[in-house]
Symmetry: C2
Subunit: 72 residues, 2 copies
């Protein structure tokens, strides 16, 4: 089963990417990550590392801790 | 170079582990992670995954987002 951390991360990435009006491919280009891996992240399938979390946060211009914040 | 996320995580794990008066070995036992890997995490050498972040957060009884929070 995917950890709670994966599910939070997945939901934040999808929401922030859509707020930026980016496709998965566009986010991938900004973060230097392949679009298929962005898809796996957003489905909670990828067990993402800290360095990739940082790249996603930088691309989306948010603090990295925001990507794991509990939902309201 | 270690990402900012690694350095934040490293500092939080060390601080919370010491606050619990646990050795690296004791934290490892609670989290189901080898003590040498706990050491690598605390030195910012390990590119830790989301599932391991969750296990560390659960062992230290904090929310996973706390482990990436910016320092004051």
């Amino acid at each position: 089963m995917a950890s709670a951390a994966r599910l939070r991360f997945a939901a934040h990435v999808r929401q922030l990417r859509k707020a930026a009006s980016w496709s998965q491919e566009e986010l991938g280009e900004h973060a230097g990550i392949h679009r298929t891996y962005i898809g796996a992240m957003e489905r909670g399938e990828a067990n993402v590392t800290l360095d990739h979390l940082q790249r996603i946060a930088d691309a989306l211009k948010v603090d990295v801790a925001e990507l794991l914040r509990a939902g309201e």
